[in-house]
């Protein structure tokens, strides 16, 4: 089975180049995403986990074509889209769509819901007016929104409803893949579950493949088939969801799992106080996590570990894996 989404060696640098039309000093560059490779097969949900600044949103924005990658391949159903990224978002829009973190600010405050939902139908699929109306009705039913919402403006909706409108807009483009960037982290817990369950149902109904980005490990574990953990711009571990937090191989994943506040577990012993991310303008030569890692040895500080399979499809980038 070919993968619905395959990325290989995806790389993104910000900054760099030279000032003064190419004659000045070289400007500092930040390597936001380094050599990211993954595959998602049809109907699967891949979770991407990491803390702020780890590059997960940059990765997502490249995959949907909002940001041109510095290098690498973005293959969707066998076609490489990498060259069109950042230039022709519409080409991406027909196969892959994005659901944003902040549901309210992802909707134009001066457009009615009808206008927001019509745009992808009209511009991506050139649908005539009468078919658009029926299609919008179908989509509204799918996300449990009432028809009378169509002529209202975004500020009249609660966060949960606005997020369903955002999902409806993404569905209107009839994509194969949805990239969900922290789709529930702005919502209250009681509403969060409504949206997650809706997403699970839509996946079956519309035969979708999900890329689910979140900082909440428990949410990712509940919805994902496989999970990728990112740290400082790199994928450091990639494994099946039921495996990765229960039996982490990378020490960062273990730390994440240990840090998640859980009912019934006492506060853990704190990490050393100097648990900061390395300076992105001046990254360390070896493993970026080495300074915080309990198992770090000399090689970790000098050599970047490659992402390796343990033989059972459990990938980790660590010289001294936890198991």
């Amino acid at each position: 089975m070919t993968a619905t989404l395959r990325i290989e060696g995806l790389d993104k640098r910000f900054g760099g180049g030279r000032s003064l039309f190419g004659f000045g000093r070289e400007k500092p560059a930040v390597h936001a995403v380094q050599d990211a490779s993954l595959e998602v097969s049809r109907g699967q949900t891949l979770g991407i986990v990491g803390e702020s600044g780890c590059g997960k949103s940059t990765l997502a924005r490249m995959i949907v074509g909002l940001l041109p990658p510095s290098a690498g391949v973005i293959e969707i159903e066998g076609t490489n889209y990498a060259d069109q990224a950042g230039k022709d978002p519409a080409a991406f829009g027909r196969v892959i769509q994005y659901v944003f973190q902040d549901p309210i600010s992802s909707l134009n405050p001066r457009k009615t819901i009808r206008k927001i939902l019509e745009a992808p139908l009209k511009l991506l699929h050139g649908m005539p007016a009468d078919r658009r109306a029926t299609r919008i009705d179908e989509i509204l039913d799918a996300v449990n929104l009432r028809r009378e919402f169509l002529d209202r403006y975004p500020h009249e909706f609660s966060g949960g409803q606005a997020q369903r409108i955002g999902i409806a807009r993404a569905l209107a483009a009839a994509p194969r893949i949805l990239v969900l960037d922290e789709p529930v982290s702005a919502l209250d817990v009681s509403v969060q579950a409504q949206v997650l369950n809706l997403l699970a149902r839509l996946k079956d109904e519309f035969d979708l493949t999900y890329l689910f980005i979140s900082h909440d490990l428990a949410v990712v574990e509940a919805v994902a088939d496989r999970v990728a953990v990112m740290y400082f711009g790199r994928i450091v571990e990639l494994a099946a969801a039921q495996d990765i937090f229960a039996r982490p191989r990378h020490h960062y994943t273990a730390l994440l799992a240990r840090s998640a506040p859980t009912v019934g577990r006492p506060l853990g012993a704190p990490e050393g106080a100097d648990a900061e991310l390395p300076d992105p303008l001046n990254p360390p030569p070896g493993c970026a996590f080495a300074r915080r890692c309990p198992a770090a040895t000399e090689i970790c500080r000098n050599l970047q570990p490659p992402l390796e399979d343990d033989g059972g499809g459990h990938f980790a980038a660590c010289h001294n894996p936890a198991r």
Binding site: E51, V64, G65, L66, P89, A90, F92, G93, Q97, Y98, F100, Q101, D102, S105, S106, N108, K111, A119, P120, L123, L124, S158, G160, A173, D188, V189, S190, V191, Q192, A193, Q194, N197, H215, L217, A218, E221, A222, V223, A224, D225, A241, F245, L256, R258, S259, A260, P261, T262, V263, G264, R265, P266, L267, P270, E271, A273, D274, A275, E276, L277
Partner: protein, 642 residues
């Protein structure tokens, strides 16, 4: 100009419509009426019984005002001034308005393009605009007219061009902030072209800014056009506009002042009224002014209560009794808290848990009278610290308590730390505000505190500015500041919500250690059961402005009594549960200006009976230490009580 803002600030937000807002500004309304009158007269010029503005009669030159046949007299060629004035006003108005539309159009196009594309496009366009701005505007206008030749149309072009930078810079600023909004990305993915996005996504959002900018510049442009005409570069004889009339009258200023005073007065009236209207439009349209951002909140929340509840028999460190905080916005009253009763004992950690809008933060702020007034009002209840009533106490007493005996830690340390002072200075200030100690000693104490919150390299970090630190370090500073005066109680409002999980774990364990070392009580406000479970001794669960359940942490988590608590706990996904369907609570929390009678959770509750939907439901105690506000609780002990 800002009469409306200063007289009725609280009502501004509620009374929605633009016209109402505008009319409340009396000066603007007066200006509007004068302007309408002037415009009407100018429009009616062709049908009014006026004399020919060009008919010369040298025998009749320089007639005084009120002379027969010439109400405002005649000019140096014996032409009727009234007629010339009205026709001239017509021309000046048209030129001013057209010029401002021209400047607004080109300025907006440049501004939107520069702001949207950014990078090199932005750079080139804005440097060109800067070059335009580098010339004194009148010099630039003169140069343009000199190049194109005198004439009213050329003067109009000159005035337009001179004002383009004003619009371009304004619009660019707004566009830059819009271009990175998520809805613009979303529009790209729906297949919109750059032009489409600029026209249909950005333009509607900058339109209010364009209107505001225009309304404040029209008057200015009329004046500039008149200036060019005055210099003889605008309208050419015999055509009259206000500037050229003024210019022609100037020669006889001493002998026959009316020939210049009349058009001068007209210019004054027009420009004045246009500016008043412009300010009115700006005040009414600007969302920042509308939301009352210009009203300064008072130093403490207004207290407007009928009676003070008697002190409890067993006083605790902090006693909150039947606290009712309202937000009075226009005719609406939002009942943020409808009777909150809560106790925090010395050295105890109490978790206040609830969803957004449940009133947990308002509770925290009400304790020290920190809810912004207007629109916040404490409409009932009391807060006692160590047996002493706080809400009715003199302000000096309240200020002594704030930050000294009771301190706060807020969610976003970047917003609560001052960006322009080093963190050391800010901690020293917090110490010196309450205790007259020498600077050096205060600084030493600040350093000790930073070390005790495990700040790495405290000695060098003390001279850092907030932006030089990561979120976790800033929150450590926030905690250090809360600890400076060895408080008895810390009120922590979601202190770890903005942090990453690994940092959150560090901050939580730090707080836990500190409270045990220093025996300080904590009121910990959060939406996260996992955090509460790890840190707090007791929990109070809030829903729609009321506490619906309280009790020891372990008991509530293992055996919740209120259906809301049970279902909220079930909603929280826990690590290690594997792939699964998550529990949800259908429906939404109620709006606090429209609370249902009876139990606020009844519309979402699967156990609700008709009895739940009417009458007051009390927070009844059961067992030793627990209480629940429910007629049909989940818990057998609680049920037995009834």
């Amino acid at each position: 100009m800002t009469a409306a803002v200063s007289t009725a600030p609280t009502r501004k937000a509620a009374s929605g419509t633009f016209l109402k807002l505008f009319a409340r500004n009396r000066l603007a309304a007066a200006g509007g009426m004068i302007l309408i009158a002037v415009v009407l007269i100018a429009l009616l010029a062709p049908v009014l019984p006026l004399q020919d503005p060009y008919a010369q009669d040298l025998a009749q030159k320089f007639q005084r005002p009120f002379s027969p046949g010439h109400l405002l007299g005649t000019d140096h060629l014996g032409r009727d001034i009234l007629s010339r004035l009205i026709w001239g006003t017509r021309l000046s108005l048209v030129v001013g308005v057209v010029a401002s539309f021209g400047a607004a159009f080109f300025g907006s196009v440049i501004g939107i393009a520069a702001g949207y594309f950014g990078g090199r496009v932005d750079n080139w366009l804005m440097r060109a605009i800067d070059m335009l701005m580098a010339f004194p505007y009148i010099l630039l206008a003169l140069a343009i007219v000199a190049a194109l030749g005198p004439g009213l149309v050329n003067a109009l072009i000159a005035v337009s061009v001179v004002n383009i930078p004003f619009f371009a810079r304004n619009i660019r600023g707004v566009t830059v902030s819009l271009a990175h909004k998520e809805f613009v990305d979303a529009a790209r993915l729906t297949g919109q072209t750059d032009l489409g996005i600029m026209v249909s996504e950005i333009l509607p959002n900058v339109l209010p800014v364009i209107v505001i900018a225009m309304s404040t510049t029209v008057g200015w442009m009329i004046l500039e056009t008149a200036g060019l005409s005055f210099l003889g570069l605008g309208s050419q004889p015999p055509v009259a506009d206000l500037g050229s009339m003024l210019g022609e009258g100037r020669n006889a200023l001493i002998t026959d002042p009316h020939a210049s005073i009349v058009p001068g007065l007209m210019i004054f009236v027009i420009v004045m009224s246009v500016n008043l209207v412009g300010d009115g439009i700006r005040d009414a349209l600007d969302p920042r002014l509308r939301s009352g951002a210009l009203t300064r909140p008072m130093a403490r929340t207004v207290v407007d209560r009928e009676a003070v509840p008697p002190a409890p028999e067993v006083p605790a460190l902090l006693d909150v009794q039947d606290l009712r905080t309202e937000f009075r916005v226009g005719k609406r009253t939002l009942h943020a808290l409808s009777g909150v009763t809560l106790q925090v004992r010395a050295g105890e950690c109490v978790g206040l848990i609830g969803e957004s809008g449940s009133g947990k933060s308002v509770t925290a702020l009400s304790v020290m009278g920190l809810v912004a007034s207007p629109p916040g009002v404490i409409a009932g209840g009391t807060v006692r610290y160590a047996g002493q009533e706080i809400l009715g106490a003199p302000f000096a007493r309240l200020r002594d308590l704030r930050g000294d005996r009771i301190s706060y830690i807020f969610q976003d340390p970047l917003a609560t730390l001052h960006p322009l002072y080093t963190i050391g200075d800010q901690i020293v200030e917090a110490i010196c505000a309450h205790h007259p100690v020498p600077k050096a000693e205060a600084r030493k104490r600040a350093l000790d505190l930073l070390e005790s919150v495990r700040m790495p390299n405290a000695a060098s970090r003390i001279d850092n500015y907030p932006h030089q630190m990561s979120g976790g370090m800033r929150q450590r500073v926030g905690i250090a500041m809360a600890l400076v005066n060895d408080p008895d109680l810390i009120i922590a409002d979601e202190p770890t919500t903005a942090l990453d999980v690994t940092v959150q774990a560090q901050i939580l364990s730090l707080l836990d250690d500190l409270r045990r070392e220093r025996n300080v009580a904590i009121l910990f406000i959060t939406h996260d059961f996992g955090v509460v479970a790890q840190l707090c001794d007791r929990i109070a669960v809030m829903y729609a402005g009321r506490i619906v359940e309280t009790g020891p942490t372990g008991a509530i988590l293992s055996d919740p009594a209120h259906p809301y608590t049970r279902r909220l706990i079930a909603c929280v996904p826990e690590l290690g549960g594997g792939r699964r369907e998550l529990h949800a609570i259908p429906g939404l929390p109620p709006a606090v200006d429209d609370l249902p009678p009876g139990c606020a959770f009844a519309p979402r509750c699967d156990k609700a009976q008709p009895a739940c939907r009417g009458g007051e439901i009390a927070l009844d105690g059961f067992g030793e230490t627990r209480a629940v506000r429910c007629l049909f609780p989940e818990n057998a002990d609680a049920e037995a009580r009834a």
